[in-house]
C-alpha cells in the first residue's frame, strides 16, 4: 500500500466530519419530535436517512476526484456529498428547508443538487445510475477527462435501471464507475432474500466489465480499488463496477425501530465501526497521534457547527416561493 499520508489524513478528517454531521442531524431530528414521534414536526421534518458507518465508501473515492467529475447518489446521500465537497452550509440549510439551501428548500435531504462540485441524488432507488451514464457520455463527447461515479445500494442492483446502465456503459465504453454500497439490508430485507448471488461485483462479468469486491468496510481498500477504476475510466478504459461491504450503523431512517437486525449483529457492527478502526490504524501506523486526532476532531466538529449555525440563522422561504423554479 502506498497511499500518501496527506490522503490518509484527509480521508480520516472527512470521516470525522461526516460522522459528526450525521450525529448532529440525528440529535436535531429527534429534538422536537419526541416523546410522541411526529415525522412532520421539528427543525428537520420528513424522512431522514443517515449514513453513519458507510463513510469509507465515500472517503475512499474522495482523493481521486477532480473538479467537474460527476457523482449521482441516493436517498442516503450525506456522506458522499460531504466527501465530494458539496458546500456544507448550503447543504445543511437545504436539509433545514431554508431559503439559503442548495435548492432554496425545494428538495430537502434526498434531493441535493450542486453544480460545482457536480453532485446530484435522488429518492428513487437506482434512478441516478442512468444519469451517471449520461454525464459520462457528455464527458467522453467533450474529451474532458472527467469521470462520473454512481453510488447506489445493494437493493438498487436488482432494479432494471442498474442492468440497463451497465449494459449502456459497457457498450459505449463510458468513463463511469458504479459503486455499490452493500450495507446488507434493503430497509428490512437482507441481501440473501433479495439477491440471487452473494456479490453484485460478479454481475459485472455479464456486461464484460471489471467487477471488484471490497470485502470489508475499509477506506484504504476502497481507495485502492476506486483509484484503479477511476484511473481506468479517466484514461479511456471504460466502466467498472465496485461493491463495498459496508455497514449502516443506524436504522434505515431515523425512527426505524430496526427490529430486523438482532443485537449480535448490531454489536458486531459497533465493534468494527470504521471511524474507530481507521483512527486506531492511523495511530498504529504513526500517521496520526492522539493529539492530532483530537485536533482534527475539534476542527471537523467546528465546521459542522458552523454549517448548522449558518442554516439556523437562515430564513425560511415564503410559502409562495414554491411557485418558482418549475421552469427555467
Amino acid at each position: 500500500m502506498s497511499i500518501p499520508n496527506d490522503h490518509l489524513v484527509d480521508m480520516y478528517e472527512t470521516m470525522v466530519k461526516i460522522r459528526r454531521f450525521e450525529e448532529r442531524i440525528r440529535e436535531m431530528y429527534f429534538e422536537d419530535k419526541l416523546p410522541a414521534f411526529d415525522i412532520a414536526a421539528g427543525l428537520v421534518p420528513g424522512e431522514m436517512h443517515l449514513s453513519a458507518g458507510q463513510e469509507p465508501v465515500a472517503v475512499g473515492v474522495r482523493p481521486h476526484l477532480r473538479p467537474g467529475d460527476a457523482i449521482t447518489a441516493t436517498h442516503r446521500p450525506h456522506h458522499i456529498a460531504i466527501a465530494q465537497g458539496v458546500d456544507l452550509d448550503k447543504m445543511t440549510a437545504e436539509i433545514f428547508g431554508r431559503k439559503t439551501g442548495l435548492g432554496h428548500g425545494k428538495g430537502g435531504h434526498m434531493h441535493l443538487f450542486s453544480a460545482e462540485p457536480n453532485f446530484g441524488c435522488s429518492g428513487i432507488i437506482a434512478e441516478g445510475i442512468p444519469v451517471a451514464c449520461g454525464a459520462a457520455l457528455a464527458f467522453k463527447r467533450r474529451d474532458s477527462g472527467n469521470v462520473a461515479l454512481s453510488f447506489f445500494g445493494e437493493g438498487a442492483a436488482n432494479q432494471g435501471a442498474f442492468h440497463e446502465s451497465l449494459n449502456l456503459a459497457a457498450l459505449w465504453e463510458l468513463p463511469v464507475v458504479f459503486i455499490c454500497e452493500d450495507n446488507g439490508y434493503a430497509i428490512s430485507v437482507p441481501k440473501s432474500m433479495s439477491t440471487a448471488i452473494p456479490d453484485n461485483s460478479d454481475r459485472a462479468s455479464a456486461y464484460g466489465i471489471p467487477g471488484v469486491l471490497v470485502p470489508n468496510n475499509d477506506p484504504v481498500a476502497v481507495y485502492e480499488v476506486a483509484g484503479e477504476a477511476i484511473g481506468r475510466a479517466r484514461s479511456g478504459g471504460g466502466p467498472s463496477l465496485i461493491e463495498v461491504k459496508t455497514d449502516r450503523l443506524w436504522g434505515h431512517f431515523e425512527g426505524d425501530a430496526d427490529l430486523y437486525r438482532d443485537a449480535t449483529y448490531k454489536e458486531a457492527m459497533t465493534a468494527r465501526d470504521p471511524l474507530t478502526t481507521f483512527g486506531r490504524q492511523l495511530v498504529d501506523e504513526g500517521v496520526l497521534d492522539e493529539a492530532t486526532i483530537a485536533d482534527i476532531t475539534e476542527r471537523m466538529h467546528g465546521e459542522v457547527e458552523a454549517a448548522i449555525e449558518f442554516a439556523l440563522a437562515s430564513p425560511y422561504p415564503d410559502g409562495a416561493d414554491a411557485l418558482d423554479h418549475v421552469f427555467a
Binding site: 460527476a70 449521482t72 444519469v131 449520461g134 454525464a135 457528455a138 463527447r141 435501471a161 449494459n167 423554479h325
Partner: protein, 339 residues
C-alpha cells in the same frame, strides 16, 4: 432572408430538418433512441441524419428506455442538449420514473441551479388498428405532471419551428407528434400534413396557440391530428351556415389560456376535441379554463368530443367508433350551434 415559403414538406421531414439544422449550428445537440440511425427513426424523425452527423451524434440505443432517457438527463445536466426518442408514447410505462421524477424535477429541486435542456420526442395516436399499446395519445398524462413542456404540432411549419424552439429551450420538452399528421408513406394522411416550410431555422414560440381557422359561431379547441379533423368538420359546417373557429393549442404546457378565452369570448360556444381519454384530461382542463375565466361569455354548456374511457380497441369498426371523427365533431357542433 433567402427562404422561400413555397417549398412544401411533410411534418416528418420538417422535424428531421429542424433537428439537422440545430445539430449543424450547435455541436452539443445530439439524438439518441431506438432505430434512429440507419432506419432514420421508425417515424422518420431522424431521416438522413446518420449520414450527415455520424453514429456519435445519431445514437442507436438498446431497448433500454430507462437507461437511455436517464442518460439523456445526465447528458443534459452536463452541458449537452440531447434529443431522446421514445418510439411510441405508450412505452412510457417502462421509463416514466426518469421522465416525471427525474427529468421534470431536477430544475425545481435544485432551486433553479441545474438546468435540464433536453427534448423527449415521441409518436402518438391511433386510427390504424395498432391496438391499445401503440395507439394512445397520453399528452394529458404528461401535461398533468409539472416540470416539462408538452408540445404537439399539427402543421409542418409548426412542427419545424416548435422542434427548433424545443431544442433551444433550457427546459425539458416533451415533443409529441401524432402519427396521422406526419406524412408517412405507409399511413393514410390528412392532406394538410404537407405544407410550406421555410428552409432556414426558425422558432415557433412554445405556449402560444394558433387560430387555425377563424369563425364566429363556436370555438373548437383541439390539438394534433384532431386539428385537421376539426378543420374538415368546419368546412362541412360552413356549408350548413355554421361558422366554426378552430384553435390549435400547439402545446398543452404551457397552455395558452388567453387564446382560448379570447376566442370563446367572441363565439360564446366551446367544443373541445381531444383524441386523448375523456376524463381527467385536456378537455376537462380547457373547459375549466373557460368556466373560470369566461363564464359570462358562455351562451351554452361546453361540449367535448373525445376518446371514451376505454383502452383503444383493435378492430377497425371498434377503433373508428371510439376515436374523435369528423362526423362526431360535425354532429356535436350542430347541436352546440342550434340553441
Amino acid at each position: 432572408m433567402t427562404t422561400t415559403t413555397e417549398r412544401k414538406l411533410t411534418i416528418q421531414k420538417a422535424i428531421a430538418e429542424a433537428i439537422g439544422l440545430e445539430m449543424e449550428s450547435d455541436d452539443s445537440v445530439f439524438a439518441m433512441g431506438e432505430d434512429i440511425g440507419v432506419y432514420g427513426g421508425i417515424f422518420g424523425a431522424t431521416e438522413g441524419l446518420l449520414d450527415r452527423f455520424g453514429p456519435e451524434r445519431i445514437m442507436d440505443t438498446p431497448i433500454s428506455e430507462t437507461g437511455f432517457i436517464g442518460a439523456a438527463v445526465g447528458a443534459a445536466v452536463n452541458g449537452l442538449r440531447p434529443i431522446a426518442e421514445l418510439m411510441f408514447v405508450d412505452f412510457f410505462g417502462v421509463c416514466m420514473d426518469q421522465i416525471y421524477n427525474n427529468m421534470a424535477k431536477i430544475h425545481y429541486f435544485s432551486g433553479g441551479n441545474i438546468k435540464v435542456p433536453m427534448v423527449l420526442m415521441t409518436a402518438a395516436g391511433g386510427g390504424y388498428s395498432d391496438a391499445g399499446q401503440h395507439s394512445q395519445t397520453l399528452w394529458g398524462t404528461f401535461a398533468h405532471l409539472p416540470g416539462m413542456k408538452v408540445v404537439v404540432p399539427a402543421t409542418a411549419y409548426d412542427a419545424k419551428g416548435l422542434m427548433t424552439a424545443a431544442i433551444r429551450d433550457d427546459n425539458p420538452v416533451l415533443y409529441i407528434f401524432h402519427k396521422g399528421v406526419l406524412g408517412l408513406g405507409w399511413m393514410t394522411n390528412n392532406p394538410r400534413a404537407t405544407g410550406p416550410v421555410p428552409a432556414d431555422a426558425y422558432e415557433v414560440p412554445i405556449g402560444k396557440a394558433s387560430i387555425a381557422r377563424t369563425g364566429e359561431d363556436l370555438t373548437i379547441v383541439t390539438v394534433g391530428l384532431s386539428v385537421h379533423r376539426a378543420l374538415d368538420a368546419a368546412e362541412t359546417l360552413d356549408d350548413e351556415g355554421i361558422s366554426a373557429e378552430v384553435i390549435d393549442l400547439r402545446s398543452l404546457v404551457p397552455l395558452d389560456r388567453e387564446g382560448i378565452l379570447a376566442s370563446v369570448g367572441k363565439t360564446g360556444r366551446l367544443m373541445v376535441v381531444d383524441e386523448d381519454y375523456h376524463s381527467y384530461g385536456m378537455s376537462g382542463e380547457v373547459i375549466t379554463t373557460v368556466v373560470e375565466g369566461a363564464w359570462g361569455a358562455l351562451t351554452r354548456p361546453p361540449v367535448r368530443v373525445t376518446t371514451p374511457d376505454i383502452p383503444i380497441p383493435y378492430s377497425r369498426p371498434l377503433e373508428q367508433w371510439a376515436l374523435p371523427s369528423v362526423d362526431r365533431i360535425v354532429a356535436a357542433a350542430e347541436q352546440l350551434a342550434s340553441a
